[in-house]
């Protein structure tokens, strides 16, 4: 899976879980301010990402993750 494909998968997870439009899921987008996502929304998003990318994300790894770009980097780092 290349980066572009990976981001499309990430995007579809975000669209499904956060009920936002694909256009809103850009790397600069902030979860709280731009995507109206609270902490429980993020937990559900992470669960969807874990399933789609076949990875495991520990709660502690989410600290400081505020933007789509940061979350995507975390995922891609695990996919390798």
């Amino acid at each position: 899976m290349n980066q572009e494909e990976a981001f499309e998968t990430f995007k579809s997870c975000a669209v499904e879980v956060l009920q936002v439009t694909p256009e809103q899921v850009v790397k600069d987008a902030r979860f709280a301010d731009d995507l109206d996502a609270d902490s429980l929304d993020l937990v559900e998003l992470v669960m969807a990402l874990e399933e789609n990318f076949n990875i495991t994300v520990d709660e502690s790894e989410l600290e400081g993750v505020e933007t789509v770009g940061q979350a995507f980097d975390l995922v891609i780092g695990k996919v390798g």
């Binding site: 956060l18 009920q19 429980l40 937990v43 559900e44 669960m47």
Partner: protein, 403 residues
């Protein structure tokens, strides 16, 4: 500790409780007019599911995913009732004095069931972080307080099939005592999941032939239903001063326990009779002043006989005209009392008592005056609405035409 606030404390008189708005979601209709027409029509065939309920009329797509069906019903019915009463602004002049009291027998059973399956299929990590806030029995009233910005008491009543009636009774007392100006009161239930249906069936509560026929000699159980009923209760002077439409008045309420058996009613209906007598005393009415009884009338052999005996004990034989709308609606568990309270208010508005659908041949052991086959004119006067829940919880409220 205070027992009365403001005007109610100063005058030593309880405040009067007006009903100024209705919201209803039932299998036979969404909204008061459709619901009423449904009560006068033939019973639906088969299970009493609310057809064509579209949560997206009341929620955005993300909210709809985060709220169980029972809360969706509850919020939608509350919004209908609030709009019927004049809108949030007309009710919310002092948000700390606007309460939300909602009944639920179970809560988000559909969510719980689906998440248990998720867990067994995929492990603990598959359980939604929204399971708890979706399934909790107080999710209905919590979502209503949040959506409309009401800061008064927001509490849930859980007394099985008496929940709705108890919620309205307790809400009325918050107005009578002066604690609240307005209370959004009612109940909601959506129990028709696979495990819910199996559980009610296996406890032999459901009709095996699929017919709800309250007070009939061949009744053999209820049809499971779902839905929500919500009433806007408002301090009478406040309602009059703002020019609200006053549909009815809550005159009294009572709550007692059989203390007998976890599911069966006390055989002679003494717990139910005590509750009706207490409600009459609370309303300062004599039995002969009651113009109509909206019965619990589930269509189970034990309930209907015990309720009829209790009515005879309090009101004589046969007593005032009785109807059970469960022939149409089925038994929607925790929300039944709230749906029936809406039916009682509509009886006042339409001056008509809907017939007990499904009843063909009245049980010769049941000696009450059941309205059957066709609607009957309602002689203006107070209406008693009964609800009795598993656990032996008895609830009665008395609703009267506005004076």
């Amino acid at each position: 500790m205070q027992i009365a606030w403001g005007k109610a404390a100063n005058s030593n008189q309880p405040n009067r409780v007006a009903i100024t708005g209705l919201g209803i979601i039932a299998c036979c209709g969404i909204g008061s007019e459709d619901f009423w027409n449904g009560l006068l029509a033939k019973p639906p065939q088969g299970i009493r599911v609310v057809p064509n309920f579209d949560p997206l009329l009341w929620f955005n797509p993300k909210e709809a995913r985060r709220v169980d069906r029972f809360s969706q019903f509850n919020v939608a019915a509350a919004q209908m009732a609030i709009e019927d009463s004049g809108g949030t602004d007309s009710l919310n002049s002092d948000p700390t004095k606007v309460g939300v009291i909602m009944g639920a027998g179970v809560g988000g059973l559909d969510t719980l069931e689906k998440q248990i399956i998720q867990m067994y299929e995929g492990g603990d990590r598959k359980v939604s972080p929204f399971l708890v806030p979706m399934m909790m029995a107080n999710a209905g009233c919590a979502n209503i307080s949040m959506r409309f910005g009401f800061h008064g008491p927001s509490e849930s009543i859980v007394t099985a099939c008496a929940s709705g009636t108890h919620a309205i009774g307790n809400a009325a007392r918050l107005i009578a005592s002066g604690r609240c100006d307005v209370v959004i009161a009612g109940a909601s239930e959506a129990p028709m999941t696979q495990v819910g249906k199996a559980a009610f069936a296996n406890m032999t509560a459901l009709s095996t032939i699929g017919i709800s026929r309250p007070f009939d000699k061949d009744r053999d159980g209820f049809m499971l239903g779902e839905g929500a009923g919500v009433l806007i209760l408002e301090e009478m002077n406040r309602a009059q001063e703002r020019g609200a439409s006053i549909y009815a008045e809550v005159l009294g309420a009572a709550s007692t326990a059989d203390a007998y058996h976890i599911t069966a009613p006390a055989p002679d209906g003494h717990g139910a009779a005590n509750c009706m007598e207490l409600a009459l005393a609370d309303a300062q009415l004599k039995p002969q002043e009651i113009a109509h009884i909206n019965a619990h009338g589930t269509s189970t052999p034990l309930n209907d006989k015990a309720e009829a005996d209790a009515i005879n004990k309090v009101f004589g034989t046969p007593g005032p005209p009785v109807t059970s709308i469960k022939g149409i609606t089925g038994h929607s568990a925790g929300s039944a009392g709230a749906i029936e309270a809406v039916a009682a208010v509509l009886t006042i508005r339409k001056k008509l008592i809907p017939p007990t659908a499904g009843l063909e041949s009245q049980d010769p052991e049941i000696h009450i005056d059941v309205v059957k086959a066709a609607p009957r004119a309602w002689e203006p006067g107070p209406i008693l609405s009964n609800s009795f829940g598993f656990g032996g919880h008895n609830g009665c409220i008395i609703i009267a035409p506005p004076k």
